[in-house]
Symmetry: C2
Subunit: 211 residues, 2 copies
């Protein structure tokens, strides 16, 4: 297993990739760590350090081959594959996600939507017909689902997570404000919008107490 890479490193890699895509579109052939740093809101030394985890890129004084580095970053982030995604929870957050324009462009195919609400089951979203959450195991197995997005109430999340993992899901994205317990080898990313606001109000409060 390679050394553990921090979440903030991974997020910066995503930023570098976005910057590179723009620069390649604009015709850049080589880019410097300074270019990437500027667009990623960090320092050139940090760019070099982040990339060094994954091998040797670029030449001192010559910068990076833009197209080549873009391909490497896509591979590092797992974007050279396509990922089959099931969304559980056809509420507001779920529908915002389903319509998110960048998902498909980035390799994430939402091939199934499930909900517990029998009024929603059977409705059509794009090419997908909403299925009952009771069928989760079946859908994950049959549709070869890689990633399951849980956009459900907190009290429903753990049970759905257990069932998704047992049926073969390889990773979970969790919008419920609850800490999921899953086997160590199954990564989970938590998106908790209230916690994001709490991080903001914390930062403002702490800055104020020190001023």
């Amino acid at each position: 297993m390679p050394p553990r890479i921090s979440d903030s490193t991974i997020r910066r890699l995503s930023h570098y990739l976005r910057a590179l895509e723009t620069m390649v579109r604009e015709g850049a052939e080589t880019v410097s760590s300074e270019d990437l740093a500027e667009r990623g809101g960090t320092s050139a030394a940090q760019v070099r350090k982040d990339l060094s985890h994954f091998g040797s890129f670029g030449k001192r004084g010559l910068g990076y081959q833009a197209v080549e580095l873009e391909a490497s970053l896509r591979r590092i982030l797992g974007l050279d594959a396509r990922w089959r995604v099931a969304l559980v929870g056809a509420g507001r957050i779920g529908s915002a996600l389903f319509e998110y324009p960048n998902f498909q462009a980035r390799g994430y195919d939402c091939v199934a939507v499930l909900d517990t609400d029998s009024d929603k089951v059977g409705r059509r979203w794009g090419d997908v017909i909403i299925r009952s959450a009771d069928e989760l195991e079946h859908v994950v197995a049959e549709e070869h689902i890689d990633l399951v997005i849980l956009a459900v109430p907190p009290e429903a999340a753990q049970d759905l997570a257990d069932r998704a993992v047992a049926a073969g899901a390889r990773g979970l994205m969790n919008f419920a404000s609850v800490q999921l317990r899953v086997p160590r080898e199954v990564p989970v990313t938590d998106v908790n919008l209230v916690m994001e606001l709490e991080a903001l109000s914390f930062a403002i409060t702490q800055a104020g107490t020190g001023a």
Copy 2:
């Protein structure tokens, strides 16, 4: 200025607070670091370390006074204040946020919604009438806005951020997939759903290469 506390610490504090609220509701008078660790998905030593940044809580062998620790965590996270929030972008993400049941309960009052789309301006969401994004500076100043949520396309985000900060916003929550440049004293939390998926597919890919 107090020492910088990591984002992951802040997120764990949010988890501890949720666990405490549940335990207090269930009648607990004292809680141990083990209780908090179990509910927060971490270790008792980590709980003690996280809390130690903010003073001395609890007594060895006796645990923490549940109600008192809950109040302390609320204060640390800035939740003893109410926060006035303006939402820019009345699209799907914006409407999901606006209806998020926990926002208000946590002290966040969304008192203004703005959009660039003249078809949306003038519509009513709950108690709020959607205003033109052209009025952003005016709304931030007049409504004493603390936090501005940007749920807008990437190409619009920086300009709106600049204007929000100039008008007095104290923190930003950014849903656009772009790194915002703001003065150091204005905290920003980025919520980028594609990046969250990228962190997942990265984790799965890396685990696979080492297996």
